[in-house]
């Protein structure tokens, strides 16, 4: 996982976790408090509804009592019902209607002792109908009860009570009440999320209209039983129980919960977006210098220790960069020392080799001169003959020493560095190459090869050595030697490939050592000279070889605009 990903995850957790916890806590607390508040309100409303219902029953009773008092003083009614005065019949028939309007009742009927309706307010022309059980049932209910009263327009559900009045020794029942409809119920539950429903045994009930939304739940808050004078089988009526149910719609609470949830989700989304953006910005800000530092560090090796790690940053990254700079400078110094030590060792080896070689070359000369001196002393006459006899030995030794001198001279050429056309050098080397029979030399030259910064003579010596080695690697079996040039990251690369015997790992490891050779008569200085010459040009050598598959030696030279730096070592593969 990248540093950026970790930073973003950390930001997300830090920013979102507290918000989620707060949101959940606030929602839970709000839910509990609102529910408790609603429950308390519902209980209070239930109590109010019950009290209101009781008060309405009492009010009906009070109005019936007042009506009873008024009837006691009503002489026209008295004459009609006690004396049978037919002239007052119309008055009596309309009496209940007038009284009903005066008292604000919705139902009122006056019945005689036999239960005959003397006057009815809600159904004027129902006079003379017998309904003796109603006053008795209402009295048995012990207060207000629900009854189904007849009207011309249909049954009327009313909350009714009964009272009585005695006139001339005769008892008259007064049955009156208020209509129970949705408006009546609505007055018991004044709007909001509360509703009241009335369930009647064996009948369809009525209910108030509510503002409840579809799919919302209604919670029953309370149930109150009310006596209900219902018709039973066979026409007889009895007192049963109707149920007044107060319900509360959870629509408002549900809507509030949904709204809070939406806002919380929105807040979390906004926070997540901000956290993502901030973490992305911060991660980019932190990881970019690290990435740049990593790229700079990747360019560091023993031959490229001139990477600039200087920085103005005063943070940890700046400190790390400066430490890397210090480290590269130390490595550079160490590399210089190692190269000096290597050079001194090489010079020592070379001195010992020169000493050994010179001694080897001087030994025959010394022997010949000692022999000539002995002849001159002992046999002067034969001096000329002996000299002539021994001169080839002297010439051979001198030639050996001359050759040796030339070879050693090749180890430290002087450079004349200038822009150089590597392709032209490759063509010249190819033209002068001495190939074994049945061998072919192939040129693969890049057309867009940039000029290289090199000494043309040195470059020619490099290629000549490589081509010579390649030809030798063919072992006279024939094959192909290829000289190729190519552009490589702004610089030029020259490659000499052969299809010869290739090298083992051990041979490769020693291939650049001075005087190491596997060829009979070889000097062991070819690749050693190539390595030094390439290093002097500021380039690099890479050898790819496999036993039996041939060898490829690539020389990468700096471009023309390159400033000289420490030479890179040879690579082996």
């Amino acid at each position: 996982m990248t540093f950026r990903s970790r930073l973003m995850i950390a930001f997300g957790v830090v920013a979102l976790a507290p918000l989620v916890v707060i949101a959940a806590g606030v929602r839970r607390e709000m839910d509990q408090r609102l529910t408790a508040q609603d429950d308390r309100r519902a209980a209070a409303l239930a109590a109010v509804a019950a009290a209101d219902l009781s008060r309405r029953g009492a009010s009906i009773g009070a109005r019936l009592a007042s009506l009873a008092d008024a009837l006691t003083d009503d002489n026209r009614f008295r004459l009609a019902v006690t004396q049978g005065d037919a002239t007052q019949r119309a008055y009596v028939l309309d009496l209940a209607g007038r009284a009903m309007r005066l008292t604000g009742l919705s139902m009122l009927q006056i019945q005689d002792a036999a239960g005959r309706i003397v006057s009815s307010g809600h159904f004027r022309n129902e006079y003379d109908r017998l309904e003796p059980d109603l006053p008795a049932l209402l009295a048995a209910a012990g207060g207000a009860a629900l009854v189904r009263a007849r009207t011309p327009d249909g049954p009327l559900l009313a909350l009714a009570r009964v009272d009585s009045v005695r006139l001339g020794g005769r008892t008259f029942a007064l049955v009156g009440g208020e209509a129970v409809d949705s408006a009546f119920l609505a007055r018991l539950a004044p709007g909001g999320d509360f509703s009241i429903g009335l369930s009647l045994p064996g009948e369809s009930g009525i209910a108030t209209a509510t503002a409840a939304r579809p799919n919302s739940h209604a919670v029953v808050v309370s149930r109150t039983s009310i006596p209900y004078i219902a018709a039973a089988a066979g026409g007889a009526r009895s007192v049963q129980a109707a149920t007044l149910t107060l319900s509360r719609s959870t629509a408002a609470l549900d809507a509030l919960r949904r709204s809070v949830d939406i806002w919380f989700v929105a807040a979390i989304a906004v926070t997540a977006t901000i956290a993502l953006a901030a973490s992305t910005w911060l991660a980019a800000r932190v990881s970019r210098p690290l990435r740049e530092l990593a790229e700079q560090t990747s360019r560091v090796d023993l031959d490229r220790l001139d990477v600039d790690f200087s920085t103005d940053r005063d943070d940890e990254i700046g400190a790390l960069s400066r430490l890397l700079g210090v480290m590269t400078r130390r490595l550079s110094a160490t590399a210089v020392r190692e190269r000096d030590a290597e050079r001194r060792a090489a010079v020592g080896d070379l001195a010992r080799q020169v000493n050994h070689d010179v001694k080897n070359g001087l030994a025959p000369i010394r022997h010949v001169l000692r022999h000539l001196a002995q002849v001159q002393r002992d046999e002067p006459a034969r001096l000329a003959a002996v000299f002539a006899e021994r001169r080839p030995t002297l010439d051979a030794s001198v030639e050996y020493l001359d050759t040796l001198a030339r070879n050693y001279a090749r180890l430290s050429p002087r450079l004349d560095v200038a822009p150089c056309d590597a392709n032209a050098v490759a063509r010249a080397v190819a033209a002068g190459a001495s190939l074994p029979r049945s061998a072919a030399l192939v040129l693969e030259l890049a057309e867009d090869l940039p000029p290289v910064r090199a000494d043309a003579l040195v470059l020619r010596r490099i290629l000549e050595n490589l081509v010579t080695n390649a030809c030798d690697a063919l072992d006279g079996r024939g094959g192909t030697v290829t000289i190729a040039t190519a552009r490589a990251e702004g610089s030029a690369q020259l490659t000499v490939r052969d299809t010869g015997s290739g090298m083992t790992r051990d041979q490769l490891n020693r291939a650049f050592d001075d005087f190491y050779t596997t060829k009979p008569g070889g000097t062991g200085l070819g690749l050693s000279i190539v390595r030094r010459l390439v290093a002097d040009l500021g380039g690099a050598v890479r050898v790819d070889t496999e036993p039996g598959a041939g060898t490829s030696v690539s020389v990468t030279l700096p471009p023309n605009d390159h400033q000289p730096g420490p030479a890179r070592p040879a690579e082996r593969q």
Partner: protein
């Protein structure tokens, strides 16, 4: 004689104007808004009248407001006029007959049961609050006013709408229908004698006001078990009590229930000639009584 008398009526002015025209005394001259102006057929035979409607319970207010003449059936207004020495009243002719229409074949013997006389008397005495009397029996097959085609009746409709309809706004018809509904619970036998289907409805029977033009049609189309409708005896005098607006007399039983009349209440300050003209217009008498 005043050029025009202001007359408050508790019925529709058009209906009153039509009734006066049918009596041959007055004719409609102009209409201005809700007011109908009538004038004597014979020039200078009486004052012109401007008929405008007041609520039934507003008749006494019209009297107190000083209107010249009030034509109403409201017993409270009539009783109030009797207490006022400056007012005189005169009963009109029995100008309205209330019929019960039941969808059934008419009886060849007229009314289905003699007990109907008792019912008519009771209805006239107790069920309505206007001056009323039992209607006389109706001759079979007579006095059917041609009407347009109606929707055929179906029994399903009867069962679905067990109701007795009456012209909306007619308090007398409403009271009669209500009494018939009440009789469904108290004297079902009598109701069965009138119409079995009405009696069978029992407690489900209702009284329902409908558009006056649709009351009779509701019975023929099966929309109601019965209807109580008023008819005017003036339009078809030969029928005795008026024509019934039904399409097919063979499928509808027509039972006269009661007849009603109104009272003309006038100020005594009007001229004798004006009072005589009014009396001639609304009653068979030429004098306004005390």
């Amino acid at each position: 004689m005043p050029a025009s008398l202001d007359v408050a009526v508790t019925d529709a002015p058009d209906s009153i104007a039509a009734w006066l025209s049918e009596r041959g005394v007055y004719r409609v001259s102009t209409r201005a808004g809700d007011t109908v102006h009538v004038e004597p057929v014979v020039a200078d035979a009486g004052p012109a009248l401007a008929l405008h409607r007041v609520p039934v319970r507003g008749a006494r207010d019209a009297i107190d407001a000083g209107v010249d003449v009030v034509l109403t059936g409201d017993p409270e207004a009539v009783a109030y006029a009797r207490t006022r020495a400056d007012l005189t009243s005169l009963p009109s002719v029995w100008n309205r007959t209330y019929m019960l229409l039941v969808r059934a074949a008419p009886s060849s013997d007229g009314d289905p049961a003699p007990a109907l006389d008792t019912l008519r008397a009771e209805l006239a005495a107790d069920a309505v609050r206007v001056e009323a009397r039992p209607a006389t029996a109706m001759r079979a097959g007579s006095c059917v006013e041609p009407r347009g085609a109606t929707t055929p009746a179906t029994g399903v409709t009867d069962a679905a709408r067990p109701r007795i309809v009456f012209p909306r706004g007619d308090d007398v018809a409403r009271a009669l229908a209500a009494r018939l509904v009440a009789l469904g619970a108290t004297r079902r036998g009598l109701l069965a004698a009138l119409a079995g289907s009405v009696a069978n409805a029992g407690d489900a029977l209702r009284a329902e006001g409908v558009d006056p033009r649709e009351a009779a049609q509701a019975v023929e189309s099966g929309g109601a078990l019965a209807a109580v409708i008023p008819v005017s005896p003036m339009r078809f005098p030969e029928c005795g009590f008026g024509a019934v607006p039904i399409t097919n007399a063979d499928l509808t039983r027509v039972i006269p229930l009661i007849q009603t009349r109104e009272r003309l209440i006038a100020r005594r300050s009007l001229t004798d000639r004006a009072l005589a003209a009014l009396a001639q217009a609304v009653s068979d008498s030429s004098q306004v009584g005390p």
